[in-house]
């Protein structure tokens, strides 16, 4: 199968698995059909979910958008944007709570 020889298929598989992991982190036992937990502030879970989202975003930019083969300035813009986003979101979360 040509699809199995294509590295993008594995990128997609990684993205799907990390989506399921972050869903499990965010929704807890209810993923498995258990009772939905009452959502409460949770720094560790939140940072984990944000980190997973940032890694997924990096994979989309790098592999699907092919920035990994792009010029240095584009790679730099994309990576600094991602770092800025992650730091801003976590800092604002932490600052208020």
């Amino acid at each position: 199968m040509a699809l199995l020889r294509n590295s993008l298929t594995y990128v997609w598989l990684f993205l799907v698995v990390t989506t399921l992991v972050s869903w499990w982190l965010g929704a807890g036992r209810s993923v498995m059909g258990g009772e939905a937990p009452v959502l409460a502030l949770d720094f560790t879970v939140t940072v984990g979910i944000i980190l997973i989202a940032v890694v997924k975003t990096r994979f989309v930019i790098w592999h699907f958008m092919e920035v990994r083969h792009g010029p240095a300035w584009l790679r730099w813009i994309c990576d600094s944007w991602l770092v800025f986003l992650a730091v801003t979101v976590v800092a604002l979360y932490q600052y208020n709570s």
Partner: protein
Amino acid sequence: MIPQETAEAMLNGSEAARGQEIQFRSRYPGQSAMWFFVIGDLWIFTCYFACYMFDRGQNPEAFLRGQQTLSQGIGAFNTILLLTSSLLVAFCVQAVRAGAIAQAKRWLLLGGGCGVAFLLIKAAEWYIKISAGLPAGADDFFVYYFMFTGLHFLHVSLGLVILTLVFRELKTVKPPQTAFVESGATYWHMVDLLWIIIFALLYLMR
């Protein structure tokens, strides 16, 4: 024109072939105007995300009450739908580079189909939310919920218009302009990555 040998290897998607091809082009995919737009859009969304995080921090319990009523399962399903759509559109770009236009059209149709399914599910989600009545005391959360999902809905819709133009290019122009197809794909992947962040911030974080 890409040499025939490279093109054939690219269709198989092997890593070495991708390296050859990039050496051949040695630049970013698509047109610079699209990248300018995409990067600008990402920064605008970053400002919205910062506003959301700030307001959420002012009253996190109210935001969590709103979040509690969302279906994380639907959010996760929609995320996987868009990821799959991105993959199919990336396959389309590879096929165009390899000159396999008929195959490229099939990938594009499947990718666009996932995009349409995303919109239908999103609309159903809104309908269920609104007809069930929004919970009291979570107004701020729902202002952001409808703003983010609404803006994103518009982005997906524009993305589908762009994919339609790409399809027309593949159908009518021989050979189609690769840069045009790549630009459309770049926009579509941006729509995907914005949803990844929206899903994390609106549906999942505590």
